[in-house]
């Protein structure tokens, strides 16, 4: 199995304060990985690093033959300006950016693809609605439709089932399973441990660093979860420079 994502001792953070601290590991192709951890564990930071919105403070992320542009990212819906007057069809259509770019038009084939993606998430008939009129669940379905269109090798989903009802969650989980079946690599940040146990074979328990990473039953033990909570110390304004880095720079 080839490694799709390789974390080589990465530290990601803001203003020199690490949110993800010295994380190393590999995500092999075709993995369905849940990333869990308390609030502040660095899940969103890690994802922002993976998709290239945030540069690592230290370390490197290897992309095993793909580029950051081949990763589809499902963002938090708070990042989206829902008051902007754009139709569901046009919004989902932006998922075709890789083939259309800045100027390419939407041909008949592209229009069919968009219609199919909307049908796959159960949003037929919503094409001309503006995104501001969607409910939370419909919004999430729409974001999944865009990921579907991006047709990416690696799919990164940030808390995809937050505040979503059971029916919608089931529909969208089925989509995730489908991607997994197609051999795509899927990472999802999640809070619902029951769902992780039921649907995700592999789990990374994150608390700034990796507390545990492996098959889900081995990772989600009570001890590990307690350890994760303990490790999520607060952002310390007076923290000194990281000793591990210091040793390394002295060695170099």
């Amino acid at each position: 199995m080839t490694a799709r994502l390789t974390f080589r001792d990465i530290t990601l953070g803001y203003d020199r304060h690490p949110a993800v601290h010295h994380l190393s590991g590999e995500v092999t192709q075709g993995t369905l990985l849940a990333v869990v951890g308390p609030n502040g564990a660095g899940k969103s930071t890690l994802f922002r690093g993976i998709v290239g919105i945030l540069k690592p403070l230290a370390g490197q992320i290897g992309y095993g033959g793909i580029t950051q542009r081949d990763i589809a990212y499902l963002p938090q819906s708070v990042d989206i300006d829902r008051s902007f007057p754009i139709s569901v069809f046009d919004f989902v259509g932006t998922g075709l950016w890789r083939s259309t770019g800045m100027f390419g038009g939407l041909g008949r084939k592209a229009r069919d693809q968009i219609a199919q993606a909307l049908a796959a998430v159960g949003l037929n008939g919503f094409e001309n609605r503006s995104i501001g009129t969607l409910s939370g669940g419909q919004m999430q379905r729409m974001l999944f439709a865009r990921v579907l269109l991006q047709d990416a090798d690696v799919i990164v989903l940030y808390e995809p089932f937050n505040a979503i009802d059971a029916k919608t969650t089931l529909d969208l989980i089925a989509l995730v399973q489908r991607w997994h079946g197609e051999g795509r690599t899927v990472l999802a940040a999640l809070h619902d441990m029951e769902m992780v146990r039921a649907h995700f074979p592999e789990t990374l328990l994150l608390a700034r660093g990796a507390v545990a990473w492996g098959p889900t039953p081995d990772v989600l033990t009570l001890d590990n979860l307690a350890e994760a909570r303990r490790m999520c110390e607060a952002f310390d304004d007076t923290a000194g420079a990281c000793a591990a880095d210091h040793e390394r720079s002295q060695a170099a």
Partner: protein, 289 residues
């Protein structure tokens, strides 16, 4: 009678025809920019930028007197500097765009006022600061038309990334590097259109022909294409109406144009089909589904 009031001024006087051509060009370039300013919640940015242009125009004036090219060039440099610096600071640091823009435009305005007052009072400068659409010469008209053309061309190029950057900037950053250049190009267009507007309406009112038509359009359309079309048309109507009003009364031309736009705005506020006040007061019975 109606002919005398509405058409004859433009048949009889060349300066009125020039003015009409000027406002049509301003409307074509400025109104779509205004729509994006409004949708990005940057309506007041236009106003700030209008102030930021002042020192450039004043320096141009110092060097070459009342030469529109020099003043335009100076205004562009000042406006670009402030827009780029503010955009850069907000992208690199935690300071939001509005805050960094406020800081830079205040500095720019202070510098501008200092330059103007060191030179002493000058009626010509005031004249240009407040604009005079009835005195457009050939060169100025060409500059305005040129700027409007550039605006439409650049807008066509950056349209898609600009829209996506407004709706979902994070997504755009994951698929393309076009976001930042598109944003900066957009800020540049804001400056170009403000400089364009100050020939006709003055630095203080230039932003009016961008923002008011955008506000009008918001009351009549739910999609962005419709908004841009409506904003351009209402800007043209305001320009034409303002010229007629100014010709027939003693209202100066610049304020007349903006006042007509304001009347259209208030009308739209009450009667607009999208969230107009009357719509909200008498929404009709609720629907089945």
């Amino acid at each position: 009678m109606l002919y005398d009031a509405l058409i004859a001024p433009f048949i009889d006087f060349e300066f009125m025809r020039r003015a009409l051509a000027g406002v049509i060009a301003l409307a074509l370039g400025g109104a779509p920019i205004g729509v994006f300013l409004m949708l990005r919640r940057m309506s007041l940015v236009g106003d700030a930028m209008a102030h930021a242009i002042l020192p450039g125009a004043a320096i141009g004036f110092l060097f070459s007197g009342l030469n529109l090219f020099a003043m335009t060039f100076g205004g562009l440099i000042a406006g670009f500097s402030v827009a780029l610096l503010a955009g850069l600071v907000s992208r690199v640091t935690v300071i939001k765009e509005d805050a960094s823009l406020a800081a830079f435009y205040l500095v720019s305005l202070a510098v501008g006022v200092t330059i103007v007052s060191m030179r002493g009072t000058n009626i010509d400068l005031l004249h240009v600061l407040f604009g005079n659409i009835l005195a457009l010469d050939d060169q100025t008209l060409l500059v305005i038309a040129f700027n409007a053309t550039i605006t439409l061309l650049v807008m066509a190029v950056i349209y898609r990334p600009l829209v996506i950057e407004c709706v979902d900037p994070v997504f755009l950053r994951t698929v393309s590097r076009a976001g930042a250049p598109a944003h900066l190009a957009f800020l540049a267009l804001v400056v170009i259109n403000l400089v364009n507007g100050f020939h006709a309406l003055g630095t203080l009112l230039a932003v009016g022909l961008m923002i008011l038509p955008a506000g009008i359009a918001r009351f009549w359309s739910r999609d962005i294409t419709g908004m841009m079309v409506i904003s351009v048309v209402s800007a043209m109507i305001s320009g034409y109406g303002g010229l007629v009003l100014s010709f027939q009364t003693k209202v100066p031309s610049g304020p007349a144009v903006i006042l007509v736009a304001a009347v259209l705005y208030i009308f739209s506020l009450f009667f607009g089909t999208v969230s107009g006040l009357l719509r909200q007061l008498f929404p009709g019975r609720h629907l089945e589904a």
